[in-house]
Amino acid sequence: MRIAWLLGAFCFGVYAEEPGAARQQELTNMLKHDCGSCHGLPPKGGLGPSLMPDALADKSDALLFDAIRNGRSGTAMPAWQPFLNDAEIRWMVTRLRQR
C-alpha cells in the first residue's frame, strides 16, 4: 500500500501527467469535502471565497495554482503542496473552472 503510494508520488513528480482515473476520483472527493469545508459544496464560499467559475473568471491559472500549492500566509488558506503534486493542482484548477 505504502509502496504503491510512494511509487505513485514518484511517477507524478517526474512525469507530471494528468492524474489517473482513481486519483481523479480522490481529488474530486477532496474538492467537495476537504476544500468544501472552507469553500462550500458547491464552492460558493464560506470561510474561504467562492471558487465557482464566475468568481474565478478574471483570475489567472497561475494565481489559483499558487494559492492552492503554497497557500496564502496570514489567511486560513493552507498550502496543499505536501498532499498534491503540480499536475494534480493543475487538474484541480481546470476542474474548478468547468463546474
Binding site: 472527493n29 469545508s37 462550500g40 470561510l47 486560513a76 493552507p78
Partner: protein
C-alpha cells in the same frame, strides 16, 4: 349507505391511530448528510434510522438546535436555509432561505427565538421559533467604512441573550433579545485576531472564543461583562513552528469538565488543558493530528478528539483522571463528528468517506453497530434541547 360509510371511516380512523407507532422525542436525533443535502431522523436507543428528509438545500456546513419540547429540529444550512423539521411526522414543517451564506444558529433560553449567524450578508438574524417570521436583523458592521464581518461562534446564554464573534472585526457581541424585535447589542472590541468559533461553559457563565490570527482565547465572563474581554493563553508555545490548518477546529459546550477546559491548539497536534480558576495552562496533551472537535463524555471522565485532514481517520480518547490518551481508534475514512448518547455509554461517529455512522461503546471502545448514511457530517441528539450554549 352514507351512514355506513362514515361509520366505517371513523372505525378506520380509530384503528389507525391505535396502530400508529408512538414515538417519544427523547430517543431521537438528526444526522446530516452533507453531499445530498438530506437529513436522517434516527432513534438513538435502538439504534436505527427512522426516516430521511430531502429538500434542505446545501448542508455542506450544517448545524442543528432543538425546540425545548424536542419535537422540532431547526437545521441551519450553508446556503442560508433555515428549516424547521417535525421529528414526529418526518416532514419539513417550515422552511425559509434567510441569507446568502450561513454558518450556524442558536435557540433562546425560553425557546421562542431562533438566532442565525451569517457570513453573507455578515450578521445575525432573529426569528420567531414557531412561525420563522423574521423579528430583527443585526448587521455585523465594523470599522470606519462600515464593512460587514462574518459572524461565528453564536451561542445562547442565560438572561435571554445570545453571544457571537466577528471574524474579521475581532469583536465579541453580546445580544440582549428580551425584546426580540428590538434587540440590544453590547460590543467588545479588539478581543484578539480572527475569532473563529466559541463555546459557552456548561453553567452559562464563560464565553470563550478561539483565535485563529494569534495565540490564545478571548474570554468573556457573562456574570460580569462590565469587566470586558480578557485574553488567555496568549503566550503559550510562542516559538513553536506553526503548521498549516487543513480544517478549522470547532468549539462546543462540553469541553469544560470540572475545573478544566479542553481546547484544540490551532495548527498543532495537541489539546490544551486550562485551569478555569486562573486560566493558566495545566498541560499540553500531544495527539495524532490537529484536533477538530474536543468533546467530553457527559460524565466528564473521557474527552474524545477527532482530527483534521490528513489525520481524520483517527479518533483519540483522553482519560481525564490522568490527562493522558488511553485509546487510539481507527473508525474509518474521514471521521467528521462525534455525538454522545445522553448519559454517555455510547458515542456515534460520522464516518464520511465510508458512508456510515459507527456507534462505539465508551467503556470497552468496541464498535457496537453501524448505520448506513450518505457522506454523514454532523450528528445531533435531542438532549441538546435542554443544554445552555449548544
Amino acid at each position: 349507505m352514507k351512514l355506513l360509510a362514515s361509520a366505517l371511516l371513523s372505525a378506520l380512523a380509530v384503528a389507525g391511530s391505535a396502530c400508529a407507532d408512538l414515538r417519544a422525542t427523547g430517543d431521537l436525533g438528526v444526522v446530516i448528510e452533507r453531499e445530498a443535502g438530506t437529513i436522517q431522523i434516527v432513534n438513538t436507543t435502538k439504534p436505527a434510522m427512522l426516516s430521511r428528509i430531502e429538500g434542505l438545500g446545501d448542508l455542506s456546513h450544517a448545524s442543528v438546535v432543538f425546540s425545548r419540547d424536542q419535537r422540532y429540529a431547526y437545521v441551519f444550512g450553508r446556503d442560508g436555509g433555515l428549516s424547521k423539521i417535525d421529528l414526529l411526522q418526518d416532514k419539513i414543517d417550515k422552511r425559509i432561505v434567510q441569507a446568502g451564506n450561513s454558518i450556524g444558529g442558536a435557540i433562546s433560553q425560553d425557546g421562542k427565538v431562533i438566532a442565525v449567524s451569517n457570513y453573507t450578508p455578515g450578521g445575525v438574524k432573529l426569528f420567531d421559533a414557531e412561525t420563522l417570521e423574521q423579528l430583527a436583523e443585526i448587521p455585523a458592521v465594523y470599522g470606519d467604512d462600515n464593512k460587514l464581518s462574518k459572524v461565528v461562534g453564536l451561542v445562547d446564554a442565560p438572561g435571554q441573550r445570545f453571544v457571537c464573534s466577528l471574524f474579521e472585526a475581532n469583536e465579541i457581541w453580546l445580544i440582549d433579545a428580551k425584546n426580540p424585535r428590538q434587540p440590544g447589542v453590547k460590543k467588545f472590541k479588539e478581543v484578539g485576531k480572527q475569532p473563529y468559533d466559541a463555546l459557552l461553559s456548561p453553567d452559562g457563565r464563560y464565553y470563550a472564543a478561539g483565535l485563529f490570527g494569534e495565540k490564545g482565547l478571548a474570554l468573556l465572563d457573562l456574570w460580569q461583562p462590565e469587566q470586558g474581554v480578557q485574553q488567555i493563553l496568549d503566550d503559550y508555545g510562542k516559538d513553536d513552528e506553526q503548521l498549516p490548518v487543513y480544517k478549522m477546529p470547532h468549539l462546543e459546550g462540553w469541553t469544560m469538565v470540572g475545573d478544566w477546559l479542553f481546547v484544540p491548539a490551532v495548527g498543532r497536534h495537541e489539546v490544551l488543558v486550562v485551569d478555569k480558576h486562573d486560566w493558566t495552562l495545566v498541560k499540553r496533551i500531544p495527539l495524532a493530528g490537529q484536533p477538530v472537535f474536543v468533546s467530553a463524555r457527559p460524565d466528564g471522565r473521557q474527552v474524545w478528539v477527532n482530527f483534521a485532514f490528513p489525520d481524520n481517520q483517527t479518533v483519540q480518547v483522553i482519560d481525564v483522571k490522568d490527562l493522558n490518551t488511553v485509546k487510539t481508534l481507527q473508525p474509518g475514512k474521514a471521521v467528521l463528528h462525534m455525538e454522545f448518547s445522553p448519559r454517555g455509554e455510547a458515542v456515534w461517529l460520522a464516518v464520511r468517506d465510508d458512508d456510515r455512522i459507527a456507534v462505539y461503546d465508551t467503556e470497552t471502545f468496541a464498535e457496537t453497530s453501524r448505520l448506513p448514511a450518505q457522506k454523514p457530517s454532523g450528528i445531533f441528539f435531542t438532549d441538546r434541547a435542554n443544554r445552555i450554549g449548544w
